[in-house]
Symmetry: C2
Subunit: 417 residues, 2 copies
């Protein structure tokens, strides 16, 4: 079962908005046995929308549209769909009641422009949107299904989860698709593929291997398709075990998960308190931890010690060190993580000190140099890395390196796999 996604809006074409919607949709549909075979981003003009829908319907029976459902003049999707299907509008009383309710709650006047959001093409089924003002629409004509949703991510997701997925399940019969992903850190794609060459050649035709490199990680993704779910599950598990055993040295996690989230879950599970003293990563790693719900069980706070003065005043780093080896040094990273462990009464403390760039380099210390320290009650260790990329990429790579160090410490000092 194949589907196409069409995203509508000039902001996507001129790059003012990054399209995260279609990635989420592609993933969720794939998990339900529907393969997105093409995604098309178009301008919000009638012709572009009409043509894109016609073309997609020539290739597939299911098309999902996002965008262009707002109340303003540049939002023309609904009008275009009415024309595409040659029907008129009906006012949906349930949507109208919902709008009146929202505006009353917010103490705002319901303008004509807002009420018009309750008008939907006569022949569509309304996909009610409890978290926003624009409803979604489901058209099922001549065996072809078209689903139109707002472009606001939270509204699209709400409609997909509560309206679209249940309806799709009833409407289409789909083969089983299983993806299994392992995450590696710190090994280049070409070296991995060399190691996995024989394995890859030996894969059965219904199972594919893909390499997904991103910063200093590579995801190894096995995708399998089959009619019999149990059989496919068994085939996939056997192949995945083979893959993981060949690449075992480099595998960080046998799942598709952010490294920080993986570590956060282990820490929460084993009640190990974590803290940080971040210099060059400036709160990046702490904030990655704080994105994980329930982190408060093991995280009580951390410090961003960006200047030497704060490293000295708040963490007691010896000032002499800044003039001898400098703040970007193994000695400083060690002092920082040890002090943070104490200050925040934690079981594991992470420190970072380095040069994120573009400024700050010296002849001896290049942009990208970073020392990462890990302290526990048993002692501390520091590793040196040379990372590259923009400031944000540098921080993200540093975070991955730190998580690999923490994983190692969890194993060696706490016996946690």
């Amino acid at each position: 079962m194949q589907a196409e996604i069409i995203t509508i809006g000039d902001e996507l074409l001129i790059g003012q908005t990054i399209d995260t919607n279609s990635a989420w949709m592609g993933k969720e549909l794939a998990n339900r046995g529907i393969q997105v075979s093409r995604k098309t981003a178009i301008s919000d003009t009638k012709d572009a929308i009409m043509n894109a829908i016609k073309e997609s319907f020539n290739r597939v029976d299911l098309v999902l549209l996002t965008g262009g459902l707002g109340p303003t003049k540049d939002d023309i999707t609904k009008k275009t769909l009415t024309e595409f299907y040659g029907c008129s509008y009906r006012r949906d009383s349930q949507v109208m009641a919902h709008l009146e309710n929202i505006f009353a709650k917010r103490g705002r006047t319901l303008l004509d422009i807002n009420s018009q959001q309750a008008d939907v093409p006569e022949i569509c089924e309304t996909l009610y949107n409890e978290v926003g003002t624009a409803p979604g629409m489901w058209f099922d004509v001549n065996g072809k299904v078209l689903i139109s949703m707002p472009g606001v991510p939270s509204e699209m997701m709400h409609i997909m989860e509560n309206r679209v997925f249940p309806k799709l399940k009833n409407r289409f019969e789909t083969p089983h698709i299983i993806h299994l992903t392992a995450l590696t850190i710190g090994i280049p794609e070409s070296l991995l593929s060399k190691q996995l060459e024989t394995f890859e050649l030996g894969l059965p035709p219904h199972i594919k291997l893909a390499y997904l490199p991103a910063l200093n990680t590579v995801k190894l993704r096995l995708s399998g398709t089959g009619i019999n779910e149990d059989e496919l599950q068994q085939d996939m598990q056997a192949q995945f075990d083979g893959l993981c055993s060949i690449a075992s040295k480099h595998i960080f996690a046998r799942e598709d998960i952010q490294p920080v989230k993986f570590i956060a879950q282990k820490l929460i599970q084993h009640k190990l308190k974590v803290t940080l003293a971040e210099s060059c990563t400036g709160g990046y790693i702490a904030n990655q931890f704080v994105q994980v719900p329930s982190i408060s069980k093991v995280f009580s706070g951390s410090i961003i010690s960006y200047s030497n003065e704060i490293k000295h005043r708040e963490l007691g780093v010896d000032e002499g060190l800044f003039t001898t080896v400098g703040a970007v040094s193994s000695e400083c990273a060690k002092a920082m993580c040890e002090a943070a462990l104490e200050k925040f009464s934690a079981d594991i403390a992470i420190s970072t000190t380095g040069i994120a760039g573009p400024g700050g380099a010296t002849p001896e210390k290049r942009v990208g140099l970073i020392f990462i320290g890990i302290a526990t009650k048993q002692g501390s260790m520091v590793q040196k890395f040379h990372l590259f990329g923009t400031r944000e990429q540098f921080m993200s790579r540093a975070s991955n390196c730190a998580m690999q160090m923490v994983k190692e410490v969890l194993l060696t000092e706490f016996g946690i796999k």
Copy 2:
């Protein structure tokens, strides 16, 4: 002048990778008078690639391709292009020398699979890639230009900036396109559009207004097209001034800029030191600041005081307050920002305390409630907000609210516009 972008890779379709490349490309091309009229994401199969190229060439004369140029078996773009143009390979000696150099530097053996990256289709012009191993390719056949580049963002950007843009300027004559964007915070799209209705109806045909809502911001973007650059510049500036004066009350910045970056630049320019005591935003705002180069001139550090214990121990927040009004309170936000101002010797301190969710709510205090405090040497103020969304959306909205408060304080206390 119109162009299309084709992105290749199953990872984009099943949502394992978010496509940031094409957003960047769309923006940079638009700035150079080339309008991306369609973006298509396809699977890495020969048929999908061939069909997509043919279809795009039926509509436009310029097609940009990314992805599928890696060394592994699932990367088939180069092979497909050789077939599309019916030519054979040549080994590019400059690419070969570059590969040998890279591998020698990294102390790795150059495998056959790596050397093959120096083989390019005979009829293309090589677009040298100094930051990676896969070169880009430029095809110019029958008046139609096709550009193929790697999918790794830093490599694509390098090739675009250093090879593609200069060549495009020579190859095509393009009309002038100007975008002017103003950023509003905290006002809904429909209210804005009501205010701007008359203005919008009065726009000349070569200038368009778009509303780009995102979390609690709306960008107002004017786009103009014209042959005479000076005239267009004048027209656009006049319309933009009109727009900004109508919506002046809600405009945060008269440019397309992240709120934190806008504030960071003002702080750096006026040498005002900033710090933070973050609870519910857990380092999010600090890290947004640290993403801005040269922030070290005005940012020496900050604290993430997530637990009550750390709020008390590190910031001296009165413990009695946690049992009377609670940590999520105006009183706590006030104490936090005042203490941070002192602790980090800053001119402006920002504090946050709230409930990011999904847990932590009480009957009196809903998920999304947040108090934001701003302290200066003149005193402090606290505002209460109800924000919504995922944890990350909550933090991003909170950051925007905080920046609007800082902007206000910069004006009233420091006379900075």
